[in-house]
Symmetry: C2
Subunit: 375 residues, 2 copies
Amino acid sequence: MTKPSQEGPEPHYDKVVSGYASFHHPAPFRCEWGGELPEYTLAYETWGELSPERDNAVLLHTGLSSSSHAKSHANNPNPGWWEEFIGPGGAIDTDRFFVVCTNLLGGCYGSTGPASPDPRTGEPYATDFPILTVADMVRAQLPLLDHLGIDRLHASVGASLGGMQSLLLASEVPERVGRAVSISAALRSHPQSIALRFVQRQAVMADSDWRDGRYYGVSFPSRGQRVAREIGTITYRSGPEWLERFGRARNDDSRPPRLDEDFEVESYLVHQGEKFCLQYDANSYLYISKAMDLFDLTDDSQGRPRIEAIGAPTLVIGISSDLLFPVWQQRELAAALEKNGARVTYAELEAPYGHDTFLIDLERVGGAVKAHLEE
Amino acid sequence: MTKPSQEGPEPHYDKVVSGYASFHHPAPFRCEWGGELPEYTLAYETWGELSPERDNAVLLHTGLSSSSHAKSHANNPNPGWWEEFIGPGGAIDTDRFFVVCTNLLGGCYGSTGPASPDPRTGEPYATDFPILTVADMVRAQLPLLDHLGIDRLHASVGASLGGMQSLLLASEVPERVGRAVSISAALRSHPQSIALRFVQRQAVMADSDWRDGRYYGVSFPSRGQRVAREIGTITYRSGPEWLERFGRARNDDSRPPRLDEDFEVESYLVHQGEKFCLQYDANSYLYISKAMDLFDLTDDSQGRPRIEAIGAPTLVIGISSDLLFPVWQQRELAAALEKNGARVTYAELEAPYGHDTFLIDLERVGGAVKAHLEE
C-alpha cells in the first residue's frame, strides 16, 4: 500500500495557531479495501503551542461521534468533549504540549465524508463512498502532520475508536509516535461488539427514508438513526450508574404504563437519540461504525499482524463496567502489546459509567494519561 | 383486585389428555393496570398424566417468544423448546409429573392477544389491547388450573419471562404452589434490561408499517421487527460461545467488506430476525416485552411487596454469561427470597451461551431442576 502522504504535492508549512482549521489534501487517496477519494479535507483543532523543536505534539483521536472540538478556545467557546482533560496543568497539559485533534475522515464535521460532494460528479458520495478502515483514518492524518511540520509526535492518544486510531498510528508509523494511549479500545473487534454495531446500522438501513443512502436533499432516516443511537447509548453508558440514576423511576407515576417512552431511562435514551439525529449524518455513522468492526491489529486487509510494529510505550486503560469493550479485551490488548515487545502500563478502573467513563473520570483516567505523557 | 377465577361461571372439568388444547374463559378479565378483556382464551399443551389425587402437576411458563410447544407429542411431532428436558426420566419426568404449558395471554400462539378480534368490535384489539403485566399472565392461568381440577401445583417452573411468571404465581396463590423454579429471571427489571427491551420496541414502532399498531390486513412492520429481534438475539445469545463459533469470520473473504450483512455473526442475527418475523405478531411482542419491564416483586402496581408472599421452596438458577439478567440480579433475587423466609437453592452456572443457556444446558440446568422437583 502506498502512503498517501507521499502521493500528493508536498504541502508547505503554515503558521501553527490554536483554534479551528482545515487541511486540504489535493491528491488522490487510495483506501485500504480499494476505492479512491480524488482529494480530501481534514478539519482539525489545536490547543497550546508547537515548540520550536516541533517535538511536543499530542495527536488526539476522536471516537465515532465526537468532533475535533475536544476543548473550548477563542474561536469556539463551547465546552469540548474533553474540556476538563485538556488545558494548562491538565491531563494533557497545554503548557507543555501542542494538542491536535482531527475530525474523522468519513465523518460529518468538516472532514470529507459521505455527505461531501464527490468532485467527479458534484453529487454527495452517499454510499459510493469507499469502505473505510481505521488505518485509512490515521493514514489521512499523516499529510496533516507533515503540513504542520511534525515529524514525530510526543504521543498518540485516544479512547474507543480514538484508541483504535492511536494504536493503528503507532503501528503504521512507529518512528513518528513517541508513546501511545489506548482507553477502552481493543486489540480487535470481537463478535459481540460487531453485533452491537451491526444492529445500529440495521436500524438506520431499515428506515425507508434511508433510500440506500441516497437521501440527501430528499429525506433523512431520523427514525432509524434515533433507534440506532438509543442502542449505542446502552452500549456506551449502561452500568451500575443507571441503577442509581434511573432505577425503575417512571416519568409519571400517576399515569398507567404505555408501550412508548415511560420509564425515565427510556426518556434518557430518546433524548440521546434525538440529539444525535440533529448533529450527525447517517451515512457517516454507517461508515465509521463499520470501520470499527473491521479493526484488527492481528490481521488487517493484507493479513498483516500490525500489533508487531508497535514499539511505543503504551498506556492501556480498561473500565470494569464497559459493555462494548469489556475488560477481558483490555487485558488481551495489553498482553499482546507486551508479547510483541512494547512497554505497557495497564490500568483497570472500577467505575460505574460503562464505556463512556473516559469522558467522565477526570481524576483516574486523566491522572493516568497525564502520568504517561509526562513520565 | 378481584381474582378472575372467581368472576366467571365455574368451568366444568374435562378429561385431561396429552396434547394441544384450548381453554376459553367466557367472563370479563380485569387487567392489573386497568382495561378489561370481555373474555379470553388460553391455548395450552400437556404431557404425562394427572394423578388420581391431581397433585402431580407442573406448570411450565414460557419466555417471551416461546409457544406452549415445549415438547413433541402425538398431535405435533415437531421438537419443542425444552424437548430434551421433558419426558420419561427427564428433568421434568413425565413418568411422575403431569406437565402443563400455556401460551401467554397477550401472545399470538392461540391465546388471546392484540391480534385477536375484540368481541365488542369484531376488529383486532391492536393497540387497544390493555397493558399487560406478568401478574395478569399468571392470573389468567388460574381458571385453567381450576378447569383441570388442579388445586395445588407440585411446582411452578420457568426461565426468563417464564421465571418471572413462576415467581409471581408463587406469590399470587402461595397455597397453590408447592415449589418454584426461576431460571435466569429477576427480582425486578433493572434499567439496563428495560433499556434493552425499549430499543427493541422502538425499532418496531419506528417502522412506518407499524401504523400505531393498526397494521392488520394492511402491512406488517417486518423491517422493524427484524431489527428488534436482532437486538434481542444479542441479549439472549451473545457470550463467550460467539468467540468460538463466529470469531471475526466473514461470509466471503474474497469480497471487500460492505455496510450490510458481512460477518458471519451478522448473518446469524439476520437469520434470527427473519425467522422471528414469520412467526410472531409485532404487537404481541410489544405488549409482552413491556410486561417484562413492569415486573417488580418488590413493588407492583399497588405498591405491594409480592416477594413477601413467596413461601415455596425455590430453585434460583443464574448464568455467568447472561447479559440480560446478569448474575448479580440472580443473587439479588435469591437473597430477597431467603430474607422473606423461603427456602432457596441457588445455582450459578458458568456457561458460554448467555441468557439462553436454559435452552441448551440439559445436564446442569436440567439436573438442578430435576433435583428440585424430586427432592
